[in-house]
Each structure stands twice: as C-alpha cells, then as structure tokens.
Amino acid sequence: MGRYVIRRLLQMVPVFIGTTLLIFVMVYGLGDPVAAMFGDRTPDPATAAQIRHDLHLNDPLWQQYLIYMQHIFKGDFGKASNGQPVTELLGTAFPVTLRLTIMAFVIEAVVGIALGLFAGLRRGRFFDTGVLAMTLLVVSIPTFVTGFVLQYLLGVKWGVVHPSVGEGAPFKDLFIPGLVLAGVSLAYVARLTRTSVAENSRADYLRTAVAKGLPRRRVITNHMLRNSLIPVVTFLGTDIGNLMAGALVTERIFNIHGVGYQIYQGIVHNNPPTVVGFVTVLVIIFLGANLLVDLLYAVLDPRIRYA
C-alpha cells in the first residue's frame, strides 16, 4: 500500500508538468496582453516595450515557460494585473471556494445517498418514481437557470435570503449557492446509489446475511450500502475537482469571490499568471482527489488490494 501511494505520487509529476505546459501555451497563445491594457487607445510604444521586457514577452515561449516554472518552485506565482501577488489571491480565493465546495459536497453526498438508498429499497413504488422524475428534472435544467431563479424568488421577490453572498463568504450565506452547485451532481448520486442498491439487493452475500438472521439495519448499512457505495465514491471523488472548477458559474451568480471569479478576472484582464496559477492548483487538487478515491476503494471493498 505504501509503495502504491509513492508510485502514484511520482506519477503525478509528469502529469503536473504536462498540464501546466498545456495551460501555459494556451493562455500565452491568446496573443499579446499588452495591447488590451491601453483600452481603445494605441499603446505608447516606449511604455509597451518596457512592460513587454519586464514580463519576458519578447523571449520564445519555451523560455518563458522555464522562467515561469523556476519562479513557481520558488513559491512565486507572478502578479495579477492590479499588482497583487497571485499567491495572495490563491490564499484568499481557495478557502472561499473550498467552503462552497464542502457545502455542496455535504448536500450532494447526504441527500443524494439517502434519496438513492430509499428509492432503491422501495423500487417501483411512489417514492422511487418521484425521485426518478425529480432528478430527471434537475439534470435537465442548467445550473445558471436554477441559480438565477432561486436568487430571484428567494432573494428579490420573497426576501427570505440575501441575493448575494457577503464578504468573506460565511457558511450561513452559502446554503443556497451550495444547493445550486450540488443540484446536478446530487441527481447523479441519487440515481447511481439507487441502481447500485437495487442491483446488490439480489446479491448472494446479502441473502446469506438475511438468512443468518442479522437485523435489517445491519444488513442495509454494513452489507448492502457499503458495497453499493463503490461507484458512488468514484463519482463523488472526481466531483470534488469538478465542483471546485465548476463553481465558476455559481460564484458569478451569487457574488462569491472564489477560484472561479479569480480565473474569470484573469481572463477578462488578460493576465496569464492568474489563470495559469489557479489552474495549476486546481490540477493538484484533481490529482489528490483521484488518489484519495482509489485508496478509499480498498477501505470499502476488502477484495481490492494495492501492492
């Protein structure tokens, strides 16, 4: 197991270098960012030349990438267009998005698995049909529609909650955004759990457990649910990354100054260090979440072993 973890960690290195290179090339390939700094005005040639020189924009792309990576290993992610170090932005934006992600993740896992479990146990009954219909509805509505509708109804029309999230994104403000962000994934989790539970309820080991005379509670939680959760855990694990990256839309709607907002600002202000820096950290999170999922398999299913 230890060797497996080390091997996986080593494998992350080439993946990390590859993805950052790709992102770097794509972002810097967008064209000269200096022209946009001057608005509708022709850049003053001397000032523009000075800026280009200081940002190494005159060097070939591979050299720029090397310089960038050198700085990254020294902990310097460059500067945003307003002169703020990107590391500072990372430090303020990631905790905010992480809070939103945790909120969404808890909603999605708890509500999704519960709905799926009960629907799976009551297959074909009214509750099951209801869950299927509801999740179908949620999956088919894009996030920004649910976001705007909930914001308008709850925030503007009925005045139940503030339409936007306050400064520092406290947890109490994050419930509605979390719900919106979790929506689609919640539907998938519910459906995945339902199918898995339905399938496992006919499994041999379950019949044995019932025949042994174990209490129903124990049969369901220890035998049925634990085995049914394997595909769900895979989904949830990869979804952590998706939630963080996909928060872009939700963050924009609810005025949450997290990762999505900073990446968007980086693109709007034509500031490559912000975009590359944030995406790089997202890549690391994706890799970490995937490793965690693979390790969780072994916990859930004793038959899976890593050597």
């Binding site: 000032t47 030349a49 990631f94 339409p163 907002y261 900073q262 072994a298």
Partner: protein, 552 residues
C-alpha cells in the same frame, strides 16, 4: 484487518489535505470581522457597485473607469471638472497664469494637506508628474505629460530599446513651496484645463518612500480617504478631515463593493443590499424604471461609438471613395438601432464630440448635418457614384468578447437593406479584445472596424487631436489631412477659448467631409439607486457624484 490497514492511509492522506487547507483558513476570523465592519447602510454609508480596477491605484497608471472612480474621490487636482457643466475650475490651485500660452506659473493654495497630515506642496505635483512620465515606471498614462518640455528625455519614444537620459523633465521647476512653473514644448492655450485629469494628481511622500504600503492603501488630498481596502472585494471610504475643498461629502462614507456580475448587483439593488449601481444589465433595461420606481437616470456621457475605415488601404482611401464612406454613414438607421437594441441608452451622434461638452464647449447638434441622417435613396446613390463597395462587399470588424454583435449585425443589416443586397455587409468577429487591438495598431485591417472614444477630460480638443491629427496617439484609421492638422495647431495656440473652439469645429467639419470614421452614437451614463439614498447624479465621465449623495 485489510480494510482497517488501508483506512490508515486514507486518514493519512485526508490529514495532509486538511493541514494544507488549515494554513489558509486561519485568516477566516479576520475576514469575518471585516464583513461585520462593512455591512449596512443604516450608518449613513452609501454602498455602491464597483468593478475590480485593472491596474494598481496609481494616478498615472489608471486609465479605466473603476480605478478612476476611487481616484476621483481621494484626489483634488489643481483643477477639477464641474459635475454638471464639465467646466474646469481651480481647486488645489490658487491661480494658473501665462503670458505666452507656453510658460505657466502655478500657485497652490496654502495649507492644503493629504489625508495622512503631510502638506501638499509644489513638489508633490512636480515629483508626481516626473514619476508618471519616466518610461521605466511603466505608467500607462505617461503620454499625458508629453506636452511638457523635456518629456523626450525621460520618455524616449521611437526606439523601444532607448534608455531615458534624465529622470526629471526640464520644463518643471519648483519656485517655492507653493509655486512652480511649467514650460511646454509648444504653445497650448487650453493646457491648464487638462489638469483635472487624475494623471495630474499630487502624490504624498509615502508614494515614493514606501510604494508597496501606498498601493495597499492609497493616500490623497481629496474629499474622501480610504479607511480599508480588501483588494478584489471592497473598499471603504470615509470623509477626509483634512479636506478643505468645495465638495465636502454629504454622507458618512462610501462602501465600494466588487461584484462578480451585474445581474447579481441588480438583484442586490432590488432587495436593498446595494444603494448605487452605475451599470444596469442590458436585459433589465426594459423594466428598470418600474423595478426601481423611477430611481434611474440615463444621461449622455463623454463616450462616442464609431467605426473606422482603414485609410492606409487604397481600396478604401483612393479619391472618390469619400462618397462611398459618406453613403455608408447615411445608410445607417441610427435612431431605430439605438431605440431597439440599446433601449435608449445610446443617443444618435450628430458630430464627433459629445453632448457633455455643451454648446459652449464645442458640441453641436447640427455639425455633421446630412452626413449622419438616414437617407436610403441618397445613400445608395452616393455609394454607386463612388464606385460601389470595394469588391462589392464589406465586413465590419469587432471583438467578440464584449457584447458588440447585436449592433454590428443591425448596422450591417441597415446597409444591406439600402443596397438591396443581403451579403453586402457582414460582421467580422475577432476572438479577444487584445488580438483585435493588436491588429488595429499594427495597421493590418483591410475592412472597417468598430472603434470608440471615451474622453479623458471634457474638452473638444480631446475628441479631435488624438483621433484625427496626423500621427495622433489613437488615430486608428491612420487618417491624415493637412487642413485638419493646421486648424488643430492654430486652435491649440489660440488664447481666446471661443475662437479656439470655432477653429476646432472647422477641423471637425473637414473630418466629417472626409469621413474616415463613421460617427454612430453617444453612449449614455446610467445609474439606478435604492430608496435609502437620494441626490444621485452623474458627472461627465458617467461616474456617480458620491460627495452629493445623501442617505435617508
């Protein structure tokens, strides 16, 4: 057992992940306190929409509205523009005098102080201007100092590799604490009226001594001072106790809140979480007045939208083509487009300036005359007389990362209907603004492209010299006409303002005749406000006049 052993690894990984996030969550309590400190308008504070400034908040480095909004509040320049008339009035200056339109003596009011208590002296201005002009400081507004004698030495322009030979401009001389002289490179009678532009703001000692601390919390001599600034999120401004100028704040402060999107800000405004919003989302324009019970204003701003012909391409500039260019202008139904597409937030253009200048300042409702009137018959006739569109069709270039597609398509549609040809004009999007601007500045355009101008200061000169003089800093179409150049130079040297304006207008008429740029419409400034505030107005730069706003 197996399961338990692997669980250890999972827990280990989870601990590492949590530890990694723990370092960053330590500042949570801090940001929560801030959230508390900056909430609510019940305490006499105006909560206003804000966009994240694009550049650090240095006066000579801020060339967009959101940063400008703050600079307007925290600085008092030698002259300031009257919010209603746009007229430049003396504020920090006691007097600005000249005998030859080239050498100016500037006297500053005594006893002016920055919000940190240090005095405003003549070197506060001279040092700030020298800093702004020096090429190695990379200030985006450096060219504003280009009229001052000695600019070339601190800002060698033509050769990108050239090093400055001096750190200060020879045209600026400190006489005593409250007097300094400015020598311009050539005569320029209306130059003092430029001094209201924020690039000319004075800077305190701290700007030069501790630059990083200054940028974290800029200090000025204006009506407000910055109480706290969380970059990218919010800024709280309170009245500056050291301010003695004429626009004392009528509220207890302003909280600028950065929003991720206009739609969210609009929702906040409706639900009373925001007091002033100066960009109403286009989708909400049709019902904004009923949503806000009429608490909405829509007035002309110093922005004109146009499209330019590439005058460096013979296909568009050869003799006879001026008829085609004029015909195209007359083929555009400006009234319908501004009503239907912009919901009245644009006003059809009648000249090349802006209504905010006022008739006395050089704006004219008749100057362009028939050249901007929709006249399908005459338009078609002119285009045919001039030999038709080059190659039988044209494209209209725009950048696709801003909402330009709708009006570009409408303009093309209008031209197509006049010509009776569905393919005569089509829109030509370019992906990003940066790419679009690059192609324009490199002179690679073969077809007309969208252009626009937001004034730096409310003077007719700012709408003409940079755009239509030969080699002008924003002459995107590379238009050149000796008559125009001569008239602008005469106007610059003319000491009598009204005579100067007549000369500028003569130059403008010549540009309209040549039509290198088709005037489309003036962009309006707009603002909506909550029931908690009153007296919301906007100045000529379409920025709310925060000092006048009162909290109910």
């Amino acid at each position: 057992m197996r399961g338990a052993k692997s669980a250890k690894w999972v827990v280990g990984a989870a601990v590492i992940a949590l530890a990694a996030t723990a370092c960053s969550s330590s500042d949570d309590s801090g940001s929560k306190d801030k959230a508390k400190a900056s909430s609510g308008s019940s305490d006499g504070i105006v909560r206003a929409w804000w966009g994240d400034p694009q550049n650090p908040l240095e006066p000579a480095n801020t060339n967009e509205v959101q940063g400008g909004k703050v600079l307007d509040m925290i600085f008092m320049n030698l002259k300031e523009y009257d919010p209603k008339t746009g007229k430049a009035n003396l504020e920090a200056a006691d007097s600005i005098t000249t005998t030859d339109q080239q050498n100016f003596t500037i006297k500053i009011k005594p006893d002016l102080k920055f919000s940190d208590g240090t005095p405003v002296t003549s070197s506060s201005f001279v040092d700030a201007w020298n800093y702004g002009a020096l090429v190695t400081n990379k200030q985006l507004n450096a060219y504003f100092f280009a009229d001052i004698d000695g600019y070339k030495a601190v800002h060698p322009s033509d050769d990108p590799g050239a090093k400055p030979t001096s750190k200060t401009m020879s045209g600026l001389k400190v006489v005593d604490d409250h007097t300094f002289t400015v020598k311009l490179a050539q005569k320029f009678s209306t130059w003092p009226d430029r001094l209201g532009y924020k690039a000319f703001a004075p800077l305190p000692k701290e700007f030069f001594d501790n630059h990083a601390a200054y940028l974290a919390k800029p200090i000025g001599d204006g009506p407000y001072m910055i109480a706290s600034y969380t970059k990218g999120t919010s800024m709280k401004l309170v009245p500056n106790p050291n301010y003695t100028g004429p626009s004392k704040p009528k509220n207890k402060g302003v909280l600028l809140k950065v929003y991720t999107s206009d739609d969210t800000a609009y929702a906040d405004l409706q639900s009373g979480q925001l007091d002033v919003l100066d960009t109403v989302p286009p989708a909400d324009l049709p019902h904004v007045k009923s949503d806000l019970n009429g608490r909405y204003l829509n007035q002309p701003a110093g922005i004109i939208q146009t499209f330019s012909f590439p005058m460096y391409d013979p296909a568009w500039s050869k003799p006879g083509m001026e008829k085609v260019r004029q015909g195209i202008s007359m083929a555009i139904d400006r009234k319908t487009i501004t009503d239907k597409i912009f919901q009245g937030t644009r006003t059809p253009a009648t000249d090349l300036t802006s209504p905010v200048l006022g008739a006395a300042g050089g704006y004219s409702a008749t100057l362009a005359g028939d050249a901007v009137k929709y006249d399908p018959v005459k338009a078609k006739q002119l285009i045919q007389d001039g030999g038709g569109l080059p190659g039988g069709h044209m494209t209209l270039g725009y950048n696709a990362d801003s909402p330009h597609k709708d009006w570009v398509d409408a303009v093309c549609n209008s031209i197509n209907q006049v010509l009776g040809d569905n393919k005569a004009c089509v829109g030509a999007p370019t992906g990003t603004f940066a790419d679009f601007r690059n192609q324009i500045t490199k002179g690679q355009m073969k077809q007309p492209f969208r252009s626009g101008w937001q004034m730096d200061y409310p003077l007719i000169d700012d709408f003409l010299s940079p755009l239509y003089a030969t080699g002008g800093s924003s002459n995107d179409s590379k238009y050149t006409n000796k008559t125009v150049d001569n008239l602008i130079n005469q106007a610059n040297a003319e000491p009598d303002t009204s005579k100067a304006i007549t000369l500028y207008q003569q130059a403008e008429s010549q540009v309209i005749k040549d039509m290198p740029v088709v005037p489309l419409w003036y962009q309006n400034g707009e603002a909506g406000w909550s029931s908690k505030v009153s007296n919301v107005t906007e100045n000529a730069f379409s920025v709310p006049v925060f000092t006048d706003i009162t909290v109910n």
